[in-house]
């Protein structure tokens, strides 16, 4: 009884009656969905007797939306402006600004590229083709192409007459096919995971060990991609590609079994004459009625912002891996369909929810609950690109991560950094720092030049700024790295450190030390 009244109290704080609302906004679709999200999440808290964490402060929120949407931390100026802004709707506004900004395009083209063509990490030939692909991705994001059209274009991009040796300077998703070697089994496995959330590849060789998929199901689905063939070129080189119309069947390898092109729902459509099988497949995949498509998309977006999907891993929907909040997932999918597959709509609603805005810090009396209940924001690791860009921003270099350099043979500081910090093994909430990463951060060129007076723009700027005292300088360093102001005890400690000179430790060097500490802190390198 006592815990129930406690939960009711908390719910009242989270969903305040109108007279004590603090972030009242005009009721709109975004807010409506955000509220519904919170309702469904809170219901599970009540069922599990979980007390959620308190709301995030402005700095936490700002860093989080910047990293999740724009892929890097905010500048000191942006941080300061946001923290000092008294407008009630500032949190909604900053999200809208970020979604309309160029960083969204760059960051999300990285995100989609990594998910669609992970082969680039192990195959140089694929990396060579990336610039055209990434250019195409950026174009889609720039235009805010709806997600169903985006996927449709990938599924139906023309392949006939394409010369596989030609570097695709045009903006086209063809590299997606090239990276799968244009083999039906590879395309089946990849499209199924990516767009339908089903890891059907296990059923390629035998009936799936844990799930209901049979070998026949796999190859029936793969048939949609079986019409693309290479002609024989001269001299043993690969010839041009050709796509056959009306190719609707496939012989399962090592058997005599012939299967028809079959959706994962078990239906074998009649492919109209004059149409490729892929076009028919694209209609089915991107349809609002497709039971997997919208839910997979919504889940992927949720997983990006929370670090954990409602179904997790996000491409593994199966009977043995049910959603933690089935009603919520269905709601998100439905809303996505109703808003014409506008992913930004979902992003706005998610970031407007109170659930997303919970703090990631734990107070002692908190119930540090099961992460799948979303009662506290999870601490997420940054991707290598996010970390690099954030450091570059904080120290004031111009060299942001430039994906158009993918095709270069050169080993650059940038590429070395990404290799050192890439981690595909764990989900973002289980990111671990390695010793070599720690060494790179502590002693590596980037941080070294940043904290060296001679070469750091940020540091030089702060030291040179007229009229600043030590406390203000430290505050500037905090804003540039942690997008917050130091707490009184922190300020005290750091001011004492800087002002107590010993031997070769000048005030300027001491400020460099403070900068070094902030850049090497876990608070800096984690998305929290």
């Amino acid at each position: 009884m006592k815990s129930l009244s406690r939960i009711l109290f908390v719910l009242c704080v989270i969903f305040p009656p109108p007279f004590c609302a603090d972030q009242v906004t005009a009721q709109d679709n975004v807010q409506e969905l955000a509220d519904r999200i919170d309702e469904l999440i809170a219901r599970k808290w009540a069922e599990n007797n979980v007390v959620p964490a308190s709301a995030s402060d402005d700095s936490e929120y700002l860093g989080r939306v910047w990293l999740d949407i724009a892929g890097k931390i905010p500048t000191a100026a942006e941080a300061q402006d946001f923290l000092d802004d008294t407008a009630i709707d500032k949190r909604r506004r900053v999200v809208d600004e970020l979604l309309d900004g160029p960083n969204y395009v760059v960051n999300w083209s990285n995100v989609w590229r990594r998910v669609l063509i992970p082969e680039a990490d192990s195959d140089f030939n694929i990396r060579y083709m990336l610039p055209g692909f990434e250019g195409w991705l950026r174009q889609q994001l720039d235009e805010n192409k709806s997600y169903d059209d985006f996927v449709r274009e990938i599924l139906t991009t023309p392949v006939s007459g394409v010369n596989p040796y030609q570097n695709q300077n045009g903006l086209t998703p063809f590299a997606y096919y090239q990276s799968k070697e244009i083999k039906p089994e590879n395309l089946a496995a990849s499209t199924s995971r990516m767009f339908l959330g089903i890891r059907i590849e296990c059923a390629q060789c035998h009936d799936h060990p844990f799930d209901t998929w049979k070998r026949k199901d796999f190859w029936g689905y793969a048939t949609f991609f079986a019409a693309m063939q290479r002609q024989q070129g001269g001299n043993g080189f690969l010839g041009q590609l050709q796509e056959l119309f009306n190719r609707q069947t496939l012989t399962v390898p090592d058997t005599n079994e012939v299967v028809n092109a079959t959706y994962l729902t078990g239906v074998s459509p009649q492919i109209p004459s004059g149409r490729t099988a892929r076009l028919t497949l694209a209609d089915w995949v991107t349809s609002g009625d497709n039971p997997y498509f919208a839910r997979t998309a919504a889940n992927r977006i949720w997983g990006h912002f929370f670090g954990i999907g409602i179904v997790d891993p996000v491409d593994d929907f199966s009977e043995s891996n049910p959603p933690s909040h089935p009603e919520l997932l269905d709601l998100l999918a439905k809303e996505l369909v109703e808003h014409d597959f506008d992913l930004k709509f979902l992003m706005r609603a998610i970031t407007a929810s109170r659930t997303y805005q919970l703090t990631s810090s734990v107070r002692s009396e908190d119930n540090v609950a099961e992460p799948l209940l979303f009662s506290r924001m999870a601490v997420k690791g940054m991707t290598a690109e996010q970390l690099y860009d954030s450091i570059a921003q904080a120290v004031g270099t111009h060299e942001a991560f430039d994906t158009t350099l993918q095709a270069s043979f050169a080993v650059t500081g940038r590429s070395q950094f990404v290799e050192q910090f890439s981690d595909s093994r764990s989900g973002p909430t289980e990111r671990q720092t390695s010793v070599l990463q720690a060494l790179a951060m502590m002693n590596g060129g980037m941080i070294t030049s940043a904290t060296d007076l001679e070469s750091s723009r940020t540091l030089a700027g702060i030291i040179a700024y007229p009229g600043f005292d030590t406390a203000q300088r430290i505050e500037a360093l905090f804003l540039a790295t942690l997008h917050r102001r130091p707490r009184p005890d922190e300020l005290d400690r750091f001011v004492k450190y800087v002002e107590s000179t010993e031997a070769e430790k000048t005030t300027q060097r001491a400020l460099g030390d403070v900068f070094w500490v902030l850049l090497n802190s876990s608070e800096f390198s984690l998305n929290h």
């Binding site: 890891r199 734990v362 107070r363 601490v379 997420k380 981690d423 802190s521 876990s522 984690l526």
Partner: protein, 464 residues
């Protein structure tokens, strides 16, 4: 590891004798019996015997990686009676009946420790894919991120509390297939420490540069930062981080702390002196060869001596900025002669050096590239990619040296008997150092994956 510290101080006592030994080593790598006719006390034999019988000694692997696909007919699989053999001639070795190519005279005197596997038969002829295939044991198969051999072996044999990293990669050329040099699903804690990033090969003439190129990045604080300044920074960081960690329990913040703590230990430890090659006698350094690869092999010995379980040294080329030096599509014979002029002394000295220090029995040395080269010589006096029948080599600990494994046909175009796949080779390497090739690791797709493909048939004939 402490045993070696003891042995080293013993060696210090006999420093004069040690220099004599080095001189003997440099002049002709005296054959089977090693040190001959000296006036030294038998301390080196004592040292060797002590190390060899030390059961607490861990096993190690040194991988000599030949980037580009080394020609088997011009190294180990000689065909003097066929036109495919080309102009290079076979020579006798220290093992009666075994002949190898004239390009490897010094190694020829160490053949009792060496097993060339002449019947490698694989399917990949593309540099990127084949590099990945040989270095992970699996073909690239998205979405699984297979770890490279060094990460796998160091994961098994390494010591997490060690001051030195468990996997060191010397001069790798990673640009073409970075995933083939990475820890994959074993995670960043199994990443190699990279020394001397490859692709910037210094030519044999650029003597002065080789020492510089093997510096360890990031292990020392930067030059413009003093030791006391580093101490101050670290103290400040520790305090600051503790506050964040207190209210953010869990893996990300926790691992940040432990990684930094271990990094600092590594920076401060004496074990890091392993990287200071100036410690070594100059005659020995000459014997290895004063170039990036030769000195890299010397560094490998030093690391293995200090208990590092896996070290790889890449030979990417002998001219400036070469990356796939062994990719001899044109002028094969000249190129191979140049490459082996670097490879041969380094490899032979490495084996002898390990042997004299009692380390050879517990160190497996693996020599391979991503594929071999065509037996038929092309119009540019070159050889092209060839995966059908080629050679890799195992030597040292865990294998019965002094024999060939497998044979190719007279023209070299096919395997005659005992074909060996990548999985077979990988399983054999594992068994030679006491690792179970069928052990499973959790992959990044939620499925456990064995170290070697379950179909692997290890070459038990050559295992001790």
């Amino acid at each position: 590891m402490t045993t070696h510290m003891k042995s080293k101080s013993q060696a210090e006592q006999f420093s004069i004798g040690r220099r004599d030994w080095m001189r003997l080593l440099a002049t002709g790598v005296a054959g089977v019996t090693g040190v001959t006719g000296t006036s030294m006390s038998g301390w080196i034999q004592q040292l060797a015997a002590q190390t060899a019988t030390d059961t607490s000694r861990r096993r190690s692997v040194i991988l000599l990686w030949m980037s580009g696909g080394p020609s088997q007919l011009d190294t180990f699989d000689v065909k003097p009676d066929h036109s495919n053999g080309g102009p290079l001639k076979p020579i006798d070795t220290s093992v009666p009946g075994m002949r190898i190519c004239e390009t490897m005279p010094k190694l020829a005197r160490m053949m009792e420790h060496v097993v060339p596997i002449r019947s490698m038969s694989t399917k990949e002829g593309d540099h990127s894919r084949a590099t990945y295939h040989l270095r992970t044991g699996y073909l690239p198969q998205v979405p699984v991120d297979y770890p490279t051999l060094g990460s796998v072996i160091s994961n098994e044999l390494g010591n997490n509390d060690s001051d030195l990293p468990n996997f060191v990669s010397i001069a790798p050329y990673r640009a073409f297939s970075p995933a083939a040099y990475g820890p994959g699903f074993l995670g960043p804690r199994r990443s190699p420490l990279v020394v001397g990033e490859g692709g910037r090969v210094l030519s044999v003439d650029e003597q002065a540069g080789y020492g510089q190129s093997l510096r360890v990045e990031n292990l020392k604080q930067p030059d413009n930062v003093t030791l006391s300044q580093t101490d101050r920074r670290l103290a400040l960081l520790k305090d600051f981080d503790a506050g964040f960690r207190e209210v953010h329990p869990g893996l990300p913040a926790g691992s940040h702390e432990s990684a930094y703590a271990q990094a600092v230990r590594m920076m401060r430890s004496s074990a890091v002196k392993a990287f200071e090659l100036d410690d070594e006698d100059d005659t020995l350094r000459e014997a290895y060869g004063k170039n990036q690869f030769g000195q890299g092999c010397l560094l490998a010995r030093r690391l293995v001596e200090r208990g590092v379980p896996f070290v790889e040294v890449s030979l990417n080329g002998v001219q400036s900025n070469q990356s796939f030096g062994w990719d001899t599509h044109a002028n094969n014979f000249e190129a191979v002669k140049q490459l082996t002029s670097v490879l041969d002394p380094a490899w032979a000295t490495l084996l002898e050096d390990l042997r004299l220090r009692g380390l050879l029995d517990s160190t497996l040395v693996v020599w391979m590239g991503e594929f071999g080269r065509t037996p038929r010589i092309n119009g540019s006096s070159g050889r092209d990619h060839w995966a059908v029948s080629w050679t890799t080599v195992l030597c040292g600990g865990g294998v019965k040296g002094g024999q060939f494994l497998g044979e190719t046909t007279e023209d070299g175009m096919a395997v005659k008997d005992r074909p060996v796949s990548v999985a077979d080779l990988l399983a054999t390497i594992c068994l030679a150092v006491g690792v179970d090739p069928m052990k499973q690791n959790m992959s990044n797709v939620g499925r456990p994956i064995r170290i070697a493909d379950p179909d692997a048939k290890p070459i038990t004939e050559i295992l001790l």
